[in-house]
Amino acid sequence: MDPVKYRHLFLEEATEHLAEIGRALIVLEKDPRDAEALEQVFRMTHSLKGMGASLGYEAVSGLSHLLEDRLGTYRERGGIDDPEGLPLLFRGLESLERMVEAVRAGEAVPVEDPELIADLEACRGAPPPKKAGGRADRRR
């Protein structure tokens, strides 16, 4: 694998994916049950996971994997149905953006935000919340 060529491909495609995730999250902010937007974010994080893993960017693949798991749960439940969901997804997006920018700047990929990882890990396997709804605390 030519690392320069694939780093360039990663930056190009990851930048597009992050922009698409941002747009889809805004749609989900308005309608947390928008299946198309949810599917879009799921696929984009899945793709980032695969690219990150292929290049050994473990922080990118690890965070993307956790986000993908959470998005998979929301898909099964028919939408984002907990108040912490969207803020976590936006934090995930910000963290991925920082990682991609670090790759672009030629830096080592920063380690994940431990608090974000802990929050995502904490929700793994959690039962569905009793109340639906919730809004993000961050607008883009």
Binding site: Y6, E13, E39, R43, H46, S47, G50
Partner: protein, 123 residues
């Protein structure tokens, strides 16, 4: 004659990676598809010897695309491309008619061994 391959994956990065792994080893990538619907259309148009099919794709998933392709040609040869944690989806794809699978991140030798095994399989 080189084995003619259609590469279906929604990520350009992955399509390029598969191409770079298999082309120097005697496979010919005759086409690429960025979603499941395009994969079926390109399969019909190009009639490749083998398809590499990502599981998670827009429009039609890789599994749906396998079903469509097998309905068009029950002798089609398809290798699924999956990620860790997608075992259930891979099983579904194998039941739909795919012959084998490779897991991302790729080990080039595993990709080549899998594709050779499928392409050399007796009908």
């Amino acid at each position: 004659m080189a084995c003619r391959v259609l590469v279906a994956d929604d990520a350009r990065f992955m399509r390029q990676l598969i191409r770079d792994i298999i082309e120097p080893e005697g496979f010919e990538v005759v086409g690429e598809a960025g979603d499941g619907r395009e994969a079926v259309e390109e399969f019909q148009r190009l009639q490749p010897d083998l398809v590499t099919m990502d599981v998670v794709m827009p429009k039609r998933s890789g599994i749906e695309a396998v079903r469509d392709i097998m309905a068009l040609d029950p002798t089609a040869r398809v290798a699924m491309v999956s990620a860790l944690g997608q075992e259930a989806l891979v099983m579904e794809a194998l039941e739909a008619g795919a012959q084998d699978y490779v897991v991302k991140p790729f080990k080039p030798e595993v990709v080549l061994e899998t594709l050779r095994k499928i392409s050399e399989k007796e009908e």
